[in-house]
Structures are given as structure tokens and as C-alpha cells.
């Protein structure tokens, strides 16, 4: 069952993780540029639809539900805060709650007070905007395997990428180890006071983690991780100094850019120079890397369409926000409506649901295996 789904030509395959992220970031950008609840609901709907259609079978694929819960919670909290901390005085009062008087040092903070429909709506719109952004990030996480994303970093950053992959892998193991130790410690008597109990739990878990890390490091080392390849000490020195120089340039540039009193010449030019040197350093580092990638995710038409969709949605969203302000930021006293262009922004995000291949590790198959 596993092999047959994989080998069917042109059918199921995992999309390049970067494409999903580009799409999700595009949609999130558009969502962050509007408070129109209709548009936001449309964006959330299309995101959910795509996730349902193209979610992969790995454990991360199941995380979307958590993000959806988080999004719902955000909306609820936003509204509740509007009620708790009061809002505008003006507007249609829905519920006339008494205001709780606060001491003078808390001036500026209102507790309760009349609840107006305007305040509620403003809270709702705002919450929806945040919820849409959260949902977009969640979608990217459940559509693209974060490990594949980390693994597709440029060759010069490969070592850092691997370290991150390992870190991601270690977490579930740490949880396993914690569960095991807790069960084991319940089998013996011993200190039950605060510090003692913590120690009983932490010492074995940390020892276990240390041993595992050493075993992993040994395993990686014997398999060639971090081979210096054919680089001469001189080449390594050049690469190192280039990257160090770039880092300094970027730091100084960023600082000068943020601080208006700094000389202008240190700002954007410095930042630009830093970036250029960084690229040079990465190229230099990449050239000496002798590593290859096994079956790298290809970048083909579906990837282009997906990433392009994200870009189009972001650009159109930005345009709507600037050219059709009334549509993008509707007042709380009138019913929101959509222009044809805004409708397009909300709906076009669905495209990847049909334009991309079914993931090779679709959840259905996973269940068949289990």
C-alpha cells in the first residue's frame, strides 16, 4: 500500500514546503491588512478547505485542529476583554453594566461599564483578524513538514539545519523519557517535598537526555556529519571572516536604521553592504560543501501556482487596503460588504486545493497502514 501510492506517476507527492509557506504567508499578509469580517471569514474558510484537502499524514498534519482552537480562543478573548475593560462611551448600549471604580493610580483603565454594540464589533473584527493570521500559520505547519523545510536550507547553513531538525526530534523523546521516569519514581519511596521531588524527576530525565545526545552525536559523527571535505585552512578562514564581517555590518546597519540620531551613512548602506558580504560568505561556504541531497523536493508548476497564489493574494490585499479603505476597514456602525476585488482576495486562496497533487503521505493511507 505504501509503495504503490508512491510510485503512481505524477500523482501523489509532497509539495515543496517553501511553496506552502509562501502561500500561507501571503494569505496571512492579506488578512492582517483588513478588518472586514466577511473577507476574514472567507480567508479562514479557504485556508481550512485547503488544509482539509491537502493535509499530510505526518504527526504535524494533525496539528491544525490545535491552531483552530487557538484561533477561536483568540476571538473569544478579544471580545471578553472589550467587555471587561470597557470601550467607547458612545454607541448603542446593549447591556448597561456598572463601572467598577478603580484607584487613581490605575487611571486610564476602566473595568466593566456599559457594553456597546460598537465595542463588541470592534473586538470581534480585531479578534477575527488575529485568528485568520493564526490559522494561516497553522495551515502551513500542517501542510508542510517543518523538518523538510529545515532540511531545504542552502548548503552553507546545512549544519544549522540539521541541528534544528535534531532539536525538533528530541522533544517527543524528552516527553517519553519524562513519562517513563515519573512512572518509575512512583515505584519507590523517597523525598516528597518540593525540591526533593523535582530532583527525583529532573536528575534521571536530564541524565537520560545527556546520554541520548551523546549517543546521537557519536552516531552522527561516525556517519560523516561535519566532514571538512576538501577545504583548505585558508578557504575556511576566508569564509569565516566574511561571515563575521557580514554579521557586524548587519548589526551596525540595523542599529543605525532604527536610531534616527545615528549618521545616515551607517544605516541603509551599511545594512546593504552587510547583506552583500553575507551572501558572498554563504556562497564561499557553499562552494566547499561536498554534500548532496537525497531526493530533494522538486519545484515545479504546482509549487509555482501555490507560491504565486500567496503572492497575488498579498498584493491584492494590499491594494484593497489602500484603494478601497471602506471595504478593507468597515466602520462598526454599518454592515460590512465586499467589493468584487475583495471577494477575489478571499476566494483565490483556495486554488492550491485543486492545483496541487495529493500529498504522498495522506492521512487516509496512514490509517490503512496502522
Amino acid at each position: 500500500m505504501t509503495a504503490s501510492t508512491l510510485t503512481r506517476p505524477g500523482l501523489a507527492r509532497d509539495l515543496h514546503p517553501l511553496a506552502w509557506w509562501a502561500w500561507a504567508v501571503g494569505l496571512a499578509t492579506a488578512a492582517s491588512l483588513t478588518t472586514n469580517p466577511l473577507l476574514l471569514v472567507l480567508v479562514m474558510g479557504s485556508v481550512t478547505l485547503v488544509v482539509m484537502a491537502r493535509r499530510s499524514g505526518h504527526p504535524f498534519g494533525r496539528s491544525f485542529r490545535l491552531y483552530a482552537l487557538l484561533a477561536a480562543l483568540t476571538v473569544v478573548l478579544r471580545v471578553v476583554f472589550r467587555i471587561l475593560f470597557g470601550g467607547q462611551e458612545v454607541g448603542h448600549v446593549l447591556l448597561d453594566l456598572p463601572e467598577i471604580p478603580l484607584p487613581t493610580w490605575a487611571a486610564g483603565v476602566r473595568l466593566l461599564g456599559p457594553v456597546t454594540s460598537e465595542a463588541l464589533l470592534a473586538g470581534l473584527y480585531d479578534g477575527l483578524r488575529l485568528a485568520a493570521v493564526i490559522l494561516c500559520v497553522g495551515a502551513a505547519n500542517s501542510l508542510a513538514n517543518p523538518k523538510r523545510l529545515l532540511a531545504s536550507v542552502p548548503p552553507a547553513l546545512y549544519e544549522i539545519g540539521t541541528a534544528l531538525v535534531v532539536a525538533v526530534t528530541i522533544f517527543p523523546q524528552l516527553a517519553d523519557s519524562a513519562r517513563r521516569v515519573r512512572a518509575a519514581q512512583a515505584l519507590r519511596g523517597g523525598s516528597t517535598t518540593g525540591v526533593g521531588r523535582l530532583r527525583r524527576f529532573l536528575v534521571p530525565v536530564l541524565e537520560d537526555a545527556l546520554e541520548r545526545s551523546l549517543a546521537l552525536a557519536a552516531g552522527m559523527d561516525t556517519r560523516g556529519y561535519g566532514r571538512s571535505g576538501g577545504a583548505s585552512p585558508r578557504e575556511r578562514w576566508v569564509t569565516g571572516s566574511l561571515l563575521l564581517l557580514a554579521l557586524t555590518g548587519i548589526c551596525v546597519g540595523t542599529y543605525a536604521w532604527l536610531d534616527p540620531t545615528a549618521p545616515r551613512v551607517l544605516a541603509v548602506p551599511m545594512l546593504g553592504a552587510g547583506v552583500v558580504v553575507a551572501v558572498l560568505g554563504l556562497v564561499s561556504a557553499g562552494r566547499r560543501v561536498q554534500r548532496t541531497r537525497y531526493r530533494p523536493d522538486p519545484w515545479r508548476a504546482p509549487e509555482l501556482v501555490t507560491a504565486g497564489t500567496g503572492l497575488v493574494v498579498a498584493v491584492l490585499g494590499w491594494y484593497v487596503a489602500h484603494a478601497q479603505v471602506v471595504v478593507a476597514y468597515p466602520g462598526v456602525d454599518v454592515a460590512p460588504y465586499l467589493s468584487p476585488l475583495a471577494l477575489l482576495v478571499g476566494v483565490i486562496g483556495i486554488l492550491p486545493a485543486v492545483a496541487t497533487p495529493v500529498p504522498a503521505s495522506a492521512p487516509v493511507r496512514r490509517e490503512a497502514v496502522a
Binding site: V181, L187, R188, L216, G226, R227
Partner: protein
């Protein structure tokens, strides 16, 4: 091909190896054996380069590969020459699916993509794991993981494969699979394999030579028959051969059967053989009826009935993942059980508070080290006394009885596997539970360690404890069991006296039974019977 010349290795005061010379030829399987802690792993580490880089200590001497010294090269620069698979394959996995793991080493070496693709497919077929290619490494069984780990180092086409205890955590069938794979690599690909293993009975038939690490820093290398004649560690088959004076020593069950025809007719009516079976009806301490344990949708234990009686040792056997651990934790009371009843001295352990539970049922988990958390043995014992509200010194007395001669000031992590197990067991026994459960206690123990553990278990049973232990080790089970319960898929498939259950099963039969047939389980019985014949 690989040559170790005058290898010496020492920590500050302790000399581990000195003046070791060893030459490995092409297409040869060399078994490294010896007692626990004599430096088997160190010897392997010298070849892979992990010693001294990951262990500290001082290494002297030279390692040559095809005449070139590689002793100065770190492990990563030897990756295309020497492949290494550690004791716990899961701990060494870097990627998360089988296919990516197989490719990882080649990615590091910069192998061309087409070559990588081809080698991954070849390796998948060679090891018979093609159907696992997209699986998450963590969902594989122990034997599958071990084969993937071997495959992952094979893809870089190393000249030498170094394996540290490749079958110690596996059940007999999975171990046979892995060893068959290794032998095939040696025969078909001409790979040189250096392998350390405690369970000699599994590996000896496949070894071309044995390198016995003697413990005084030296090694003895030679033909298995020659080395095993007086090796301190030897599989039961060899002990049987030594006892009967068979020449040359039998290394496989087939050899031994041929020799066995020359044995005088032994009387199976020996009283020692029957007394354990016909033990007086003992008082049942644990009565479990219809126990079912469910993890999510997976039924780990299904409707199991089990009775543990005082003074009797029950051995739980079965594949990895057949529900042994789940059953043990359910019997202890902290493992959640879905249905069924468990009665320990009139109460259900699941309904007791943890402190009371400890006084009913003692359990030593698979990783005994999880129980320990203090810096010295003395601290551990004191904490155990305090926790169990026992008189000071109770735990220490128990420990002295179980494993005499452990210093107070030693760190528990510095103890040998067997000593650490004894310490964990003493800590658990301090609460005076009448029932003792041991989950996989034989892991990492050599023959002497197992004999010691067998004595401890026998003592516990003699003290009227009811003992239940889960193990893969058929030879150990044959030594200690009064009753054997075999589980598969969470159900009990057979149970009864070892003489019946173990002898009936082709995969669980101990070596002596395979050679001499039904009533004989262990060498000691044969020795006793032969003594009788001689008289």
C-alpha cells in the same frame, strides 16, 4: 585489512587495554566477547574512532587500514571506511523516515544523487525492508530498527562494519533475522564485521574468529573452538560440550546433536528434574482475571488471566510489543487497565495510594536507572529507607545480600548493569512487597551477571515472594522459571511448566533442549544426571 598495532588505552588510573594486536581480514566476522566492563566497547571504539574522542582517556598504538594509519582521523573522516551501529539504534537515528535515514550518510559524503537513489533501493532489498521505506523510524519494531540502522551505514559502502550488541534488545526471532542479515553481508559482499555481543549462543555459530577480551588489558584471538575451550564466557552448548568432553567443541546445535548420540543414556527420572514441577500447591498472592489494557485504539493486553503464587517464579515471554510491559504495569496498579480484576492480598493495587501500592507490589522497570537519582549508593539506600518508613539500614542489608561488596560512596551510574539492577531491586524491596515484578532484567548482563540474577531470583522465591519477570532470554528463563507464560498480540498463547512450554516452542527452546530433547533444559541438570550415571 584493518590492523590494530600495540593498542593501549587507559584512563587516569585504570588500564583498559594494553598491547592489543588484532588483524581483521576481508570478509571475516570477528566476535568480540568477554565479561561486562572489560573493554569490548572500547576496542570497537578504537576502530570507529569514537575512542578516545567521545570517552576521554589516552589511546596509544596505531590503527592501519590497508597499510595507512587512520588513528589520527576523527570518526567523521572514517565514515566511508568504517560503519558503526551502536547498542540502541533509535538513539543514533538522525532522519525521521527509513528512506531518509538510509540516505543520510551518503548525503554527508557528497554521493551523486543517482548513485544515492540506486544504493538506497539496493539496500532496502538487501535487508528486506523495502516495505518499510516511508515509515517513521520510531514506529518500527526493535528488529526492524536494527536492520535499518545497519542499512543506513551500509549505503556508504564501508569496508568494515562495527556492531555493538546488535541483538541484545531483541527477541529470539528478531535476533535471528538480524544475524541472518549480517551473515549474508559477510558472505555475499565480503564485508568485514566486528561484532560485540553478550548472547554468545546467538552469535557463535556465525563467527569466523573470536577475540576474547581477557580483562587484564589483553586479548586472545583465535578459532571459536580454540578460544571457547576455556573462555570464562561460553554459551550453554559449549558448556555442554565441555561437560561431555566432546572434541571438537560443538558450535551449532547440529554439531552437538551429532555428538549427543555418543552420550550414555541419561536417566530423566532424576529427582532434581521433577521437584520443581511437582511443587506443593502454593498460596496465590496475585490473582488477575480478564485483564485488558488499551493504549488509544491499540489493545496491548487482551483478557489475560494470571495467578502468581508465593515462592514461585513466573517468566513472561513473547515478542517485543506483545504486551509484556503493559501487563506488568497493570499488575503493579499504576498502569491503567480497561477492565478485569486484580487482587493482591485482598486489595486492588490500582485503587491504592502509591505508597501503599509499593508495599503490595514491587516493580523494577526496564531501565533500572530511572529509579535512581542520588549521587551515592549510600544516599540511595538512606532515601529508600526513609521513603518506605523502614528501619535505617534495611535497604543496605538487602543490597549486601543481593550484590555483596558495593562501596557506599560509588555513584549509581558507575555501577555495572547487574549491580545497578541489584540496587534498584533493593530500593524496591525495602518496602517489603510480597510480589516482585521485573521488566527485562537481563538486559546488558553477561553470563556471570545472569547467574547472579538467577540466584537473586531464587532467593526471593525462597523467601516466599511471588516473582514475575519478563525476558527474551530463553536460557535465563530455563534457569529460573517455575512457570512460563508466553504472550502474543496481548493474549496468553501458552502457559505452564517450562519443561513443557519452552520445549514445545521452536523459537523459545533453550540450546540444551534442542540438543538432548524434551526433559532437559539446562546444563546443570545434565551435569547432575551424568554424575549419577558415573556413580
Amino acid at each position: 585489512m584493518i590492523e590494530l598495532r600495540g593498542i593501549g588505552f587507559h584512563y587516569d588510573q585504570e588500564v583498559v587495554l594494553s598491547g592489543v594486536d588484532l588483524t581483521l581480514d576481508e570478509g571475516e566476522l570477528v566476535l568480540v566477547s568477554g565479561r561486562t566492563g572489560v573493554g569490548k566497547s572500547t576496542l570497537l571504539g578504537v576502530v570507529t574512532g569514537l575512542v578516545p574522542r567521545f570517552t576521554g582517556g589516552v589511546l596509544t598504538g596505531d590503527v592501519l587500514l590497508e597499510g595507512q594509519s587512520i588513528v589520527e582521523q576523527p570518526p567523521r573522516e572514517r565514515a566511508h571506511l568504517v560503519g558503526f551501529v551502536g547498542q540502541d539504534p533509535l538513539a543514533g537515528f538522525v532522519a525521521d523516515t527509513v528512506e531518509e535515514e538510509l540516505a543520510y550518510g551518503m548525503e554527508q559524503l557528497g554521493t551523486a544523487p543517482e548513485t544515492m537513489r540506486r544504493r538506497v533501493e539496493e539496500t532496502l532489498d538487501l535487508l528486506g525492508i523495502a516495505d518499510l521505506r516511508a515509515r517513521d523510524l520510531r514506529t518500527l519494531s526493535g528488529g526492524q530498527q536494527q536492520r535499518v540502522a545497519i542499512g543506513a551505514v551500509l549505503t556508504t559502502h564501508p569496508r568494515v562494519l562495527v556492531l555493538d550488541e546488535p541483538t541484545s534488545a531483541l527477541d529470539p526471532t528478531a535476533a535471528e533475522d538480524v544475524l541472518a542479515t549480517i551473515t549474508r553481508l559477510v558472505h555475499d559482499l565480503g564485508l568485514t564485521v566486528l561484532l560485540a555481543e553478550h548472547r554468545l549462543e546467538r552469535v557463535v555459530p556465525f563467527a569466523d574468529r573470536i577475540c576474547l577480551v581477557t580483562g587484564d588489558g589483553g586479548v586472545r584471538v583465535g578459532d571459536p573452538r580454540a578460544v571457547l575451550t576455556d573462555s570464562p564466557v561460553a554459551p550453554p552448548l559449549v558448556e555442554l560440550g565441555r561437560l561431555a568432553g566432546w572434541q571438537p567443541l560443538p558450535l551449532t546445535v547440529r554439531d552437538a546433536r551429532r555428538h549427543a548420540r555418543t552420550l550414555p543414556e541419561l536417566s530423566a527420572r532424576d529427582p532434581a528434574v521433577h521437584d520443581r514441577v511437582a511443587a506443593p500447591a502454593a498460596e496465590p498472592l496475585v490473582v488477575a482475571r480478564g485483564v485488558t489494557v488499551v493504549h488509544g485504539r491499540h489493545v496491548a493486553v487482551r483478557d489475560v488471566d494470571l495467578t502468581l503464587s508465593s515462592g514461585r517464579t513466573t517468566v513472561l515471554m513473547g515478542r517485543n510489543g506483545s504486551g509484556k510491559s503493559s501487563l506488568i504495569w497493570a499488575l503493579q496498579g499504576s498502569g491503567r487497565r480497561r477492565s478485569g480484576s486484580i487482587d493482591v492480598a485482598g486489595s486492588d493495587p490500582a485503587e491504592l495510594a502509591p505508597a501503599q501500592r509499593r508495599t503490595h507490589v514491587g516493580l523494577v522497570p526496564q531501565t533500572a536507572a530511572d529509579l535512581l537519582y542520588l549521587e551515592t549508593v549510600a544516599d540511595e539506600c538512606a532515601a529508600a529507607d526513609l521513603g518506605a518508613e523502614a528501619a535505617p539500614g534495611t535497604c543496605r542489608d538487602l543490597l549486601d545480600r543481593l550484590a555483596p561488596g558495593i562501596e557506599d560512596a560509588v555513584h549509581p551510574r558507575d555501577l555495572s548493569e547487574g549491580q545497578r539492577l541489584a540496587l534498584a531491586l533493593s530500593v524496591v524491596l525495602t518496602a517489603r512487597p510480597p510480589v516482585v515484578l521485573l521488566d527485562e532484567p537481563t538486559r546488558g548482563l553477561d553470563y556471570a551477571g545472569k547467574a547472579e540474577l538467577a540466584r537473586i531470583v531464587a532467593d526471593l522465591a525462597a523467601d516466599d515472594h511471588a516473582v514475575l519477570l519478563a525476558t527474551h532470554d530463553v536460557e535465563f528463563a530455563a534457569h529460573v522459571a517455575d512457570e512460563v507464560v508466553v504472550m502474543a498480540e496481548g493474549e496468553v498463547v501458552s502457559s505452564g511448566p517450562p519443561r513443557r512450554v519452552l520445549a514445545e516452542s521452536p523459537s523459545f527452546a533453550p540450546q540444551v533442549t534442542k540438543v538432548l530433547g524434551a526433559p532437559w533444559l539446562v546444563v546443570e541438570e545434565v551435569a547432575a544426571a551424568m554424575g549419577g550415571v558415573a556413580r
